[in-house]
Amino acid sequence: MSKEKTYLANLALHLCQMDPKAFGGIVFKTGAGSHMDKVRNALSKTEIGSSILHPNMGVTDLVGGIDPIESLTSGKLIHTSGLLARLGWKVMVMAERLSRQSAALISQHIDTKASGPFCIFDESEPSEDTQLSALNERMAFFFDLHEVRYNRFLVDPVRTKTIETKLPPLSSDQQEILVCVALQLGILSMRPVAMAQRAAQYLCLMDHREQVSQDDIDTAAQLVYAHRALSLPQDEDKAHQQNEQNEQRDPSDLNTPNDSLELPEDLVIEAVKAMLPKDVLNQIKDKKTNSANSNKDGFGLVQKSVLRGRPMPAMTGRPNDQARIDILSTLRAAAPWQRLRKSQISRDTSIIIFPSDLHIKRFQNRSERVVIFSVDASGSAAMNRLGEAKGAVELMLAQAYSKRDYVALIGFRDERADVLLPPTRSLVQAKKNLAALAAGGGTPLATGMNSALNLAMRVRRSGKLPSMAFLTDGKGNIDLEGQPGRQNAMNDAAHIAELGRTLNVPTLFIDCGRRGNPELENIARKMGSQYLCLPRANAKAISDLAQSHLE
C-alpha cells in the first residue's frame, strides 16, 4: 500500500512539473516532519527550484506590488514581482491555515497566469476533514501521508523531462470511461475529468507509447479521482448496479452498446477503490448525505481577523509599538512636496520626509464570533426542541452577513454527541446539513457539554471567538463512558462544568423542561454561565436570547 502510494506520489510530482498549467499541483496531508522534509528537499533540488509560501503572506507578498523602501532610496517607482510569478515549485506549508481570501487569490492567479506547480502541505490533524477549498480543487493530486511509513517513503529529485511530441489522443471510449467513472464516484465538477484525461496522456508519453492504454486510464483515475470520491457503486450488488447504469445511460447514449463498457469501467473503479483507505469507504456515505458534492467546509481554513478587519484610511501620527508605519501613505504625503522642499533645503538627499508626513496604519478589528448550539436530542420532546434549534440556527444565519457570526450545531443523544453543523455562515450549507436529524434515546449531558467545549477550543485556536448555548432539560442519565445512570451522569456533567469554567467560554443554558431544573441551574453556576428557564422556547426567542446574552 505505502509502496504503491510512494510510487504514485512520485508520478504525480513528475506530472505536475511537466505541465503545471494542467495539473496545478499536489497536496500532501502530513504533519511537519520527515515526510515533508524529504519532499521539500527533493523539490529544492529540481531544475526549476522551489520557493516557500506560508499562509500568512499578504497580497503584496503573493502577487507583488510597489516596493516602498527601494522606491524611496532610488527615487523612482520599483515594483516587486511577488512569489506567485516565480516559475519554480511553490511549496505551501501549514496550508490548513490559509484564509479563503488568499486561497481564492492564488486560484485566480492560477486561472489567469502561468505559474509553477504547487506543493501544498495540509498539516491539519489526521482526523480533521480534508479541506477542498477553491485552491485544492485546482490541485490535481492529493496524498495522505499519515499512514505511509517514513522509511518506505522515498522521493526522487524530480527530473524535468520536456516532452515535445504532441499528446496522444484518447479514444472516445476512453473519454467516456473517465466521464462515467467520475459520475459514479460522485464527482460532479468537470475539472478533475479534464485533469485525469491529461494525466493519462502524459503517462502514455512517459512510457514512450503512442496509444493511451487501459493502464494509463487506471492510474490517472487513481491519481485524480480517489480522494475526490463521494460515493461508490455497490459492488456486492452487481446486477442492481448494472441496472442502474443502464438507466443512467439510456437517455443519453443509446447508440453505445452497454456491455462493451461495463468491464473497463469496473476495472477503473476497482483501481480507484484500491487507493482509498478502509475507513474512507465508510465515511463516504456520511460525506454524501452531509455535504453532497460540495466542499468539506469548516475549520482549518481560518480567516485572520487582522485581515478581515476593515482597513481604515491611514492617519498622521508617530509609529510606535502599537502603531505600524504606513509607508505608502507617508510617501504619498511627502511625494508632492519633494521639488518644493529640495529647492528650500539644499541637501543632497533623494527624498525629504518631514515628521508631518508620517502616517500610521489603522484597522477596525473585530473577531468573528462562533455561536455553538448544543441541543439535547433525547426523548420524546426532542423533535420539538431540535426543530426550534434548527429554526434558531437558520434565523441567526439569515442575519449572519451583517453580524459576521458563524453558527455551529451539536446534537447529543444516547451515548454520543455529533457535530451536526460545523461552524458556517452559509445558510445553504446549513440547510443541507440540518435536513435530516435523528432524535430519541437517553441524555448524555456530559458528553454533549464536552463535545461543545472541544469545538469551542478548536474555534478559539482558529482565531475566532466561541460562545456556547445549550438547549436541554438538564435531565442527564448517561455518563461520559456511555453507561446509563442518573447520578454518574450528573456528576460527570458537573465535572465538565468545572473544567469548562477554566476555559472561560461565554455560555448560556436554556432550560426547556416544563419546570426549571435546579440541577441544571447548579451546573450552569459551576460553569460560571448564565441560566434561563424557557419552557416553550421558539426559534425566534432562542435566536434573540443567544444574540443578546452571548455578546
Partner: protein
C-alpha cells in the same frame, strides 16, 4: 494572455449564456451573477464573452475609454485626437485588491520623479463601457463592495484624496461568480445585479464527454480550435448586433406591464428595480427572438433569472428561489 475558449463552443449552460447575451444586447439590464458549484465553467463562459463582443470606438490614449473627444475628462492629458476601435474591455477585479487600485489614486511615480500631483486611474476607469468581472464575489472585502455599490449605482467614480478631486464616468456591467456555500452575498450587492443564474454541471454523459473533448482539443491547439468556432462566434455576434438595433422597436402593451407588476407584487420582491429589470430583460429577449411585441412566453423564460435573487429570503422556506418564481409565474400567467 492566453486565448479565450470560444463562447459558441461552450456545452450547455444555456441560462448563463442567455443572461450574458441579453446584457450584451441591452447593457442597461445590469450585471449577471453566476452562482454554482466548482468546475462548472463559470469563469470560462465569462472570459469567452470578451472575445465574442463587437469592438467599440474609443479615443486613443483615454484611460476611461471615452467614445468621443468631447467626453474625455478634463484631467486626462494623454488622450489623442484620433479614434480607434478596440475590444470591449473585460476587467478582472482581483480579490485582495486595494481600494486605491480600484478607484485610482495619486500617481506615486510621477510624484516621486517629477514632483507633480497627477491622478493614476484605477480599475473602475479601465472598466468604463465594458465588463467588470469579480470571481468569488462573495469573498470580496466589505469596503471594496461598498465602493463598487456606490459606483455601480451612480455610474461615476469620484476620488477625493491627497488634495486631488477627480471625477470620471464608470459605467460597467458587473459580472460576479461564486459559490453560495462559501458565504452569502449582502442583499444590497445582490440587488445591483440585474440577472442571476444558477450554474450546474451537465448531468448527461454525452454533454460531459463533449466538454472533455472540446477542452482537450482547445488545450492542444487553441488557435485551430478558435478558428473552427470562429464562424459560430461571428453568428452570435451578428445576432447581438441585430438585436441591438431591434431593441428600440420592441414594445410592451399595458396588459403585459400589469402582468409584470403583478408578478413582482406576488413575489414580494422589494422596490421597483425588479419590475424594471423584468421589463428590460423581456425586451432584450424579445429582440433576440426577433419579435417586436413582448409576450407571455418571453416573460416566462426570463423571469426566474431577473427575479430569483430579489426575493425576500425566508429562512424557513425550503423551496429554492427559482422554484418559488416558477410557482408564482404559473399562478399569474396561467
Amino acid at each position: 494572455m492566453t486565448r479565450a475558449f470560444p463562447f459558441s463552443a461552450i456545452v450547455g449552460q444555456d441560462d448563463m449564456k442567455l443572461a450574458l447575451t441579453l446584457t450584451a444586447i441591452d447593457p442597461k439590464i445590469g450585471g449577471v451573477l453566476a452562482f454554482g458549484d466548482r468546475g462548472t465553467g463559470k469563469s470560462t463562459a465569462i472570459r469567452a464573452l470578451a472575445d465574442l463582443l463587437p469592438n467599440i470606438n474609443v479615443v486613443q490614449g483615454c484611460p476611461v475609454n471615452s467614445e468621443r473627444p468631447s467626453q474625455v475628462p478634463a484631467w486626462v492629458k494623454t488622450a489623442k485626437e484620433e479614434i480607434g476601435s478596440t475590444k470591449t474591455p473585460v476587467v478582472d477585479l482581483p480579490l485582495g485588491v486595494s481600494a486605491d487600485r480600484v478607484t485610482g489614486a495619486l500617481d506615486i511615480e510621477r510624484a516621486l520623479v517629477n514632483g507633480v500631483k497627477e491622478f493614476q486611474p484605477g480599475i473602475l476607469a479601465k472598466a468604463n463601457r465594458g465588463y467588470l468581472y469579480i470571481d468569488e464575489v462573495n469573498l470580496l472585502e466589505d469596503h471594496i463592495v461598498d465602493l463598487l455599490l456606490d459606483v455601480a449605482q451612480s455610474g461615476t467614480n469620484t476620488v477625493e484624496k491627497e488634495g486631488l478631486s477627480i471625477t470620471h464616468p464608470s459605467r460597467f456591467i458587473l459580472i460576479g461568480s461564486g459559490n453560495p456555500e462559501e458565504g452569502e452575498l449582502r442583499p444590497q450587492l445582490l440587488d445591483r445585479f440585474g440577472l442571476s443564474v444558477e450554474v450546474r454541471t451537465p448531468h448527461t454523459i454525452m454533454d460531459r464527454v463533449d466538454i472533455i473533448k472540446r477542452r482537450d482539443e482547445f488545450d492542444r491547439d487553441p488557435d485551430a480550435f478558435c478558428e473552427k468556432w470562429a464562424a459560430e462566434n461571428a453568428n452570435i455576434r451578428q445576432t447581438i448586433l441585430e438585436s441591438r438595433t431591434r431593441l428600440n422597436s420592441v414594445t410592451m402593451n399595458d396588459a403585459m406591464l400589469e402582468i409584470c407588476a403583478e408578478i413582482c407584487v406576488a413575489m414580494g420582491s422589494d422596490g421597483l428595480r425588479g419590475e424594471l429589470t423584468l421589463f428590460k430583460t423581456a425586451r432584450a429577449f424579445a429582440a433576440l427572438s426577433g419579435d417586436t411585441l413582448i409576450q407571455n412566453n418571453h416573460i416566462k423564460r426570463i423571469a426566474p433569472m431577473a427575479l430569483s435573487h430579489r426575493l425576500r429570503r425566508d429562512p424557513l422556506d425550503d423551496a429554492g428561489s427559482t422554484a418559488r418564481v416558477e410557482r408564482t409565474l404559473d399562478a399569474v400567467l396561467g
